[in-house]
Symmetry: C2
Subunit: 340 residues, 2 copies
Amino acid sequence: MSQTATTRRSIVLKRRPHGAPGRDDFEFRDDAVPQPAAGEVVTRTIWLSIDPYMRGRLREQQTYAQPVSPGDVMTGETVGEVLTSAHPDYVAGDVVVGARGWQTHCLSPGERLVKLPRHAAPLSAYLGVLGMPGATAYRGISEICQPQKGETVVVSAASGAVGSVAGQLAKRAGARVVGVAGGAEKCLWVQDSLGFDDCVDHRSLDLRRELSAACPNGIDAYFENVGGAVQAAVFDLLNPFARVAMCGMVSQYNEAEFPPGPNLGFVVGKRVLIQGFIVSDKPEKLAEWRTLAAPWVADGSLVYREDTHDGLENAPEALAGILSGRNFGKMLVRVGHDPG
Amino acid sequence: MSQTATTRRSIVLKRRPHGAPGRDDFEFRDDAVPQPAAGEVVTRTIWLSIDPYMRGRLREQQTYAQPVSPGDVMTGETVGEVLTSAHPDYVAGDVVVGARGWQTHCLSPGERLVKLPRHAAPLSAYLGVLGMPGATAYRGISEICQPQKGETVVVSAASGAVGSVAGQLAKRAGARVVGVAGGAEKCLWVQDSLGFDDCVDHRSLDLRRELSAACPNGIDAYFENVGGAVQAAVFDLLNPFARVAMCGMVSQYNEAEFPPGPNLGFVVGKRVLIQGFIVSDKPEKLAEWRTLAAPWVADGSLVYREDTHDGLENAPEALAGILSGRNFGKMLVRVGHDPG
């Protein structure tokens, strides 16, 4: 996508998907690249973030944010370059994060954007390890799991954008960290590259036994990204006074009806804390996290991995992929040229 | 039971009950009233407290405390009068709370006992409104539910020893308080005598609709004593940032297998806090509560109700009763003469 394009391409929700979202649930809409009104900024999209929460936006029922309706442009955070600015804080060529939409060009109020440093971290990192997923991991670990030295922390979707950071933060706190991921390749990477103490394959025929073997002292904190059978297996191993950060339950996002969950009797006897959270409730934490983590990304001590799809038209497939665990690391769509 | 009795009667677990505990699951054991060794105290039991947690002690699996095994004296908190003391802090005639056992006479280390004032509150109150159940309500409301003025708080088992105090504390905090209780008589008392804003009968054929009607602004905090269908109905009405104090789930205590529970997806989207707690984890809170609540009991502003069975031999029936909601108020067994 050249900077002088005059046509904008958007991906619009065509119909609410049943089960896994597919390409046919979306359609393209082409129109002219807009001009900003006072206070607005037009960006060309470089990177589009694909995240599990997006499936919730496709449901009719409101969760914590307004759903996307058929005919609406699909929502998603981007890193983009300012093309035209009618906001005093931005000029053409600035690179920003925060414009939203599955679009080659986004029109945004300037206040929603955050200017990014150039030539620090790769720009895509601001959608992953230094962005919303990283800040999510930071809040869940620091505010809810609060791992203590020697405790056992389990992180599900451990090779994903959130889980990979959550586990590394728990390691920094001195905990024994056990990941749960899908398949031998991911599990190996979680142990060898992220430095988790162990990683269990959730596709294993005997998940409970393997998780139990990996957590000989039980589980003191759980960073929950998946739900389902993994949640059930973890809950059975929780220690008294365990903390559960409820970040997501991606295993069921494509389901029309959610299955029953755990009987909560154990919560009383074990004095368990189960706390749901949404990162955007404390937007100030994102900047705090960027400041904290940028040196770790720069010195390579905070490891991350990206799974990149090329071309806006592949965003629906990328979303379907992340919902079924086909991604390996932070899922991104490269929409336009990255000037670095 | 005269103070000069030389025989002690104890109720001993005969076999682990299946389902509801019955008289045949226990047996009597008679022996001599013991003599205290150094540091010990012998009390004659005046009041025995009957509480839902006792069902957990009859299970083979350890919950948060050691189970009672067949052949053991059944555990339970009592108010008693000191008969013989080998502890410097106690003399015959002192009235104390804290000796444990379904027994006419208890032998206890003096450190476990707390001396009670005479002629302040009725002695039985120290097992209910001024005792462990009251302190349980206090911790759940003040530490977890944290009701704010104008919020809606739901309390299940609202006419019970814990629920009745929990709801009154939420009222003092300025919340709209809705009880859930079993039957019209209890619901009426919860509204008219305890001053709850509304009370829903959990036996209603349309519990969900009635609860929804009683909570037009949703539910901001829930004090959970029962589990089951009430829990499911309440969870569906929780507002964003709701707090759930998990105190007990008495509806399932007689079950061999616990039924599935709620799918926890809502916990994420609504950022719900679910926190289990056991009052005895913070024993210092009991004294704090007694100091706080004693004036309210004295001036009649904290209302409570007792359901008294006469005679130690009726303790098993009293336990079965509290597990099926047949009690109306704090369940007590009068074991010996109350000197007032």
